[in-house]
């Protein structure tokens, strides 16, 4: 039989309840229709997970996914995805991480690992070429992520790469993370709690099989192109001067300059003290410059604090999202404290974005007198480092008010202040908002609203408007659209670019490549992915940009249908009032609000969805070969809308 290049060709199934594992062949037709990674996971989750399954139940699945590019020296391809149903949002859950674990899964001979059931006692899953072992891990339960990783590697061997949870995942904190290779995080949507419920303390992987490609000579040419783009091409120097030099914290200065640095629980987008937490400020603490596996962008770093209150703190990062969440968001200008909170969250296994946002929510509640001083044993005031450290621990161990915050802001605001604080509990679909502001970049509002996992930037954040790349805008959307595309403060044209980016990222997250190189700098687009995938896999259609766009749309639609099946539709596609009704009070974007409605209407039209019901047209689903979702959705919603004959 014709063997596809790039793929391992097998899916590993693990049942934790029965302590059984088996593998099944990856059907070529599925690879062709959904590529891999998040696309293939969407297909499997749709078919293997029943409707309305409790995310914290043995029935929920945890899918660890690679794509055809994983392990094959494609640009920034060391990443992998974990997909599930979220205990935080009850919607589609997806998170990606770098490090070097993803490629090991491929080298062990699997494209995906599908984990179901629930172990009776704490377990470590050890996967290699020939076996899957269920190792008792009662002694590891309670350990932080660093100690867990150390212990697992001491037990199994240094060549194992480890993803694990800390106390937060064990205690089912709804935004618990999974930490990979010590410092990389599958942060969002509470996947750590899914592992915690399954009593799965860690997954350790090593592999020694290789990845073959379909057409090595042609593929070598692609690699030469990749090398050229990263060393000599037009984006090589900008990437080197920012991501390579500073890592993602470089964004602090860039975003403050356009008034989009979330400050004081997203009250405003400009902070006078931003320089103190900038990429430049962090450089002084750099202990090592590192990268993920198979990456030429190399944005990673290990940071160390030598002196003062936080002396001895060593951590990977912090990344921009953490710097905003614990810096400007909480008005903490001591960058050493930010480094420490990053370390603390990673050790405990907490998502830094959600953690920062639940804390800023608490601070605002206190500032506005919705909570009294006596319910907390620390003063929850802006800039109070000591309070932040205490709340982080209280959340991870569900102590006192931490137990309420551990459920995420959407639920916490109903308990704290009797629901009167929900206007500044900033989330979409229950996922706390990330480090952007829709008032200063209108496309962000649409991105947050329509993202299948909630207020999240990584499914469709556009940089062409954020930074005003006129050449890129002209190339992708036509010369006549340049003005409106590049104006980040108008809602016009934003549906167009967000939809385009969402389709592209659906492909990127399935291939799997990093957002750095595909989001910023806009070095790789559909044309490159087509050029890469065809010689890599041998699938003829992958060489066609039009086909890849169709696959991107298919994946984006299927993920949305997953949410629709859970009853999460257009009523969830809204923004907190802060962004639609409170004009930006200070900074370069002063006076702006985000008008979501117009962008949404346009986006729905581009997607082929009915704006009155929020449901996809039957024609749209059929066009995307997603006919299999129609009877399921019709069972829930009655008949699906059809396009009227005249338009």
């Amino acid at each position: 039989m014709f063997k596809l290049g790039g793929y391992a060709g097998k899916i590993l199934y693990v049942d934790l309840s029965k302590k059984k594992w088996w593998s099944e062949e990856l059907k070529q037709s599925l690879a062709k229709s959904f590529i891999g990674g998040t696309g293939l996971s969407a297909y499997l989750l749709w078919h293997l997970l029943g409707r309305g399954v409790d995310p914290l139940s043995p029935e929920n699945l945890l899918i660890i996914a690679t794509g055809p590019a994983t392990g094959a020296l494609s640009p920034s391809s060391g990443r992998f995805a974990v997909v599930s149903k979220s205990p935080l949002t009850y919607a589609w859950a997806e998170s990606h991480a770098g490090g070097a674990l993803g490629p090991q899964i491929k080298y062990a001979g699997y494209d995906l690992v599908v984990i179901r059931g629930c172990a009776e006692k704490p377990t470590v899953l050890a996967i290699d070429d020939t076996s899957v072992e269920f190792i008792k891990a009662e002694d590891l339960w309670g350990l932080d992520t660093e100690a867990t990783t150390d212990e697992v590697r001491a037990k199994l061997g240094k060549d194992y790469h480890v993803m694990c949870i800390g106390p937060a995942g064990e205690n089912l904190i709804k935004f618990a993370s999974i930490i990979v290779d010590y410092h990389r995080a599958l942060g969002r949507t509470g996947l750590g709690a899914v592992m915690g419920f399954k009593k799965l303390k860690a997954v350790a992987v090593r592999g020694s099989k290789g990845v073959e490609v379909h057409d090595p000579d042609k593929y070598k040419e692609v690699l030469e192109d990749f090398l050229w783009r990263n060393t000599k091409g037009p984006w090589a120097l900008p990437a080197k001067m920012s991501l390579w030099r500073y890592g993602t914290p470089n964004l602090v200065t860039v975003l403050n300059a356009i008034g989009r640095l979330p400050t004081k629980n997203h009250w405003t987008g400009y902070w006078e003290e931003a320089d103190k937490i900038s990429g430049e400020a962090l450089l002084r603490y750099r202990a090592a410059k590192t990268s993920c596996f198979s990456c030429a962008i190399m944005c990673k770093q290990v940071t160390k604090v030598e002196n003062g209150r936080y002396a001895g703190t060593v951590t990977g990062g912090p990344e921009y999202e953490t710097v905003f969440a614990f810096g400007s968001n909480l008005l903490i200008s001591n960058v050493e404290a930010v480094i420490y909170f990053n370390k603390l969250c990673n050790q405990l296994g907490l998502d830094t974005i959600s953690t920062g946002k639940v804390i800023s929510f608490l601070f605002e509640c206190y500032e506005k007198s919705f909570i009294s001083r006596d319910i907390v044993d620390f003063e929850p005031t802006w800039g109070n480092e000591e309070a932040v450290a205490k709340i982080i621990e209280a959340i991870a161990f569900r102590k006192g008010i931490g137990d309420i915050l551990a459920e995420g802001v959407a639920k916490a605001c109903k308990t704290i202040g009797d629901g009167k604080c929900c206007d500044f509990a900033l989330h979409v679909k229950g996922l706390e908002v990330s480090g952007q502001d829709p008032r200063a970049q209108k496309s962000v509002g649409l991105t947050w609203a329509i993202s299948v996992r909630g207020a999240d930037h990584l499914r469709s954040l556009t940089t062409v408007d954020e930074l005003g790349y006129r050449d890129v805008a002209a190339e992708r959307f036509g010369v006549d659209k340049v003005e409106c595309v590049c104006d980040r403060l108008t809602e016009e044209c934003k549906a167009l670019i967000v939809k385009d980016q969402e389709d592209f990222f659906a492909v990127v997250d399935s291939v799997i490549m990093c957002k750095y190189g595909t989001m910023w700098p806009p070095m790789y687009y559909f044309d490159f992915v087509a050029k890469l995938l065809k010689p890599l896999t041998g699938i003829e259609e992958f060489g066609n940009v039009k086909y890849l766009r169709l696959v991107g749309e298919r994946i984006a639609n299927l993920k949305r249908c997953f949410n629709l099946r859970e009853g999460i539709g257009m009523e969830s596609e809204k923004l907190p009032k802060r962004f639609t009704e409170e004009p930006m009070p200070t900074g370069p974007a002063k006076g702006y609000v985000c008008n979501l409605e117009d962008m949404l209407i346009e986006y729905y039209a581009l997607r082929g969805w009915d704006y009155r019901t929020g449901l996809p047209y039957v024609e749209t689903l059929n066009h995307l070969d997603l006919g299999f979702v129609i009877p399921v959705l019709e069972d829930i919603y009655g008949s699906l809308p059809r396009r009227s004959k005249n338009g």
């Binding site: 060391g78 080298y107 290779d181 099989k209 290789g210 073959e212 490609v213 410059k289 990268s291 030429a296």
Partner: protein, 132 residues
Amino acid sequence: MGLQIRSLKVDPNLCTGCYMCTLICSFSKFKVFNPRLSLLRIDYNYKIGRLEGYALCNQCGNCISVCPTKAIYMDFSGIVRIEHSKCIKCLSCVSACPNNVIVVYNGIPYKCDLCDGDPQCVKFCLVGALHV
């Protein structure tokens, strides 16, 4: 002063652990991406961000003397090569290699030949940690 032998060298402080050198090596030699088949090995510690160990062929020539069929020789530029038509797959060279960087693939030993003057690992080392 004798002949200046060209061989791979590494500056451990510059390595970031991207492993692209090992990937391009196995691909160039065997048309497969597999760090375990690479003719150079690196061991990067992601916890502290440091290259902890590495193994490269320094073209020392230890393998030449143990080869019973004289299949291994040093060419005029100082690169030690295996002439596979003469190789009887006894693998004496593998055990003679002080750095353990002769890799056996499908029963046949392979060693670093600096990719005929254009070492691919050096080319894909964007931080300049590898050089000749």
